[in-house]
Amino acid sequence: MTKEEIIKKLTTIVKPYVQNEEGFKNISEETDFINDLEINSANLVDIILDVEDEFDIEIDNDAMEKMLSVKATVAIIQEKMNA
């Protein structure tokens, strides 16, 4: 799966939890879930669980703590899918 395909799927997953619509319109690799999209910590957990289902991977605590931006999340997804 290419990086672009992963970002596209991730964007769909993130959408229902976004508070800042302006931030979502400008979503890019640099987007930070908490600062740019104003997603709360409980919904961040929902995103992680959706990512697990969508990409058929398992996220552990160490990986979860890093998944705060699109870029970091894509990197973790790629790493786990190739593991």
Partner: protein, 146 residues
């Protein structure tokens, strides 16, 4: 972990403690009950001369027993005198079916959907003493020992 130990660790007190007893608890769920007293503070205003337990209080009772007490049990190995449970309600969706009047005893039955990354999501229902469904829904919270 005993029922009384769980209740002692709750961060609530009267008049906002809605747990009398935990009758069953496991990694997968919890059952507990509370009896609404005649003189609960909210009956004076809800409603005028017609005391009925507010839906928010029923939701709170379901959250205290079904999510917070269960969360404390699930975190039992991390909780100590120095690390107390810290909680926050994050979402709830509840449907109501029957009113609850003063002096009624209700039983809350909660089933864990998941507990991951400190978020506990439960499917919760409340029954009255005739074993009729009072309300049911889904409640989530974040809980950590800190």
């Amino acid at each position: 972990m005993k029922s009384s130990e769980i209740i002692k660790l709750l961060p609530y007190q009267k008049p906002f403690l809605f747990v009398d007893e935990i009758s069953d608890v496991s990694e997968n769920g919890i059952i507990g009950n509370y009896t609404f007293q005649q003189n609960e503070f909210f009956y004076e205003g809800h409603f005028k001369e017609n005391p009925i337990t507010p839906g928010v209080i029923l939701t709170e009772t379901m959250a205290q027993i079904g999510v917070v007490c269960l969360g404390i049990f699930l975190l039992k190995n991390e909780i100590s005198s120095a690390k107390k449970p810290q909680i926050a309600l994050t979402s709830n969706e509840v449907d109501f079916f029957l009113p609850v009047l003063p002096k009624e005893k209700v039983t809350v039955i909660s089933t864990k959907e998941y507990f991951r990354f400190n978020k506990l999501k439960c499917s919760v229902k409340m029954m009255n003493s005739k074993n009729e469904l009072v309300c049911r829904g889904s409640i989530s919270g974040m809980i950590i020992a800190k």
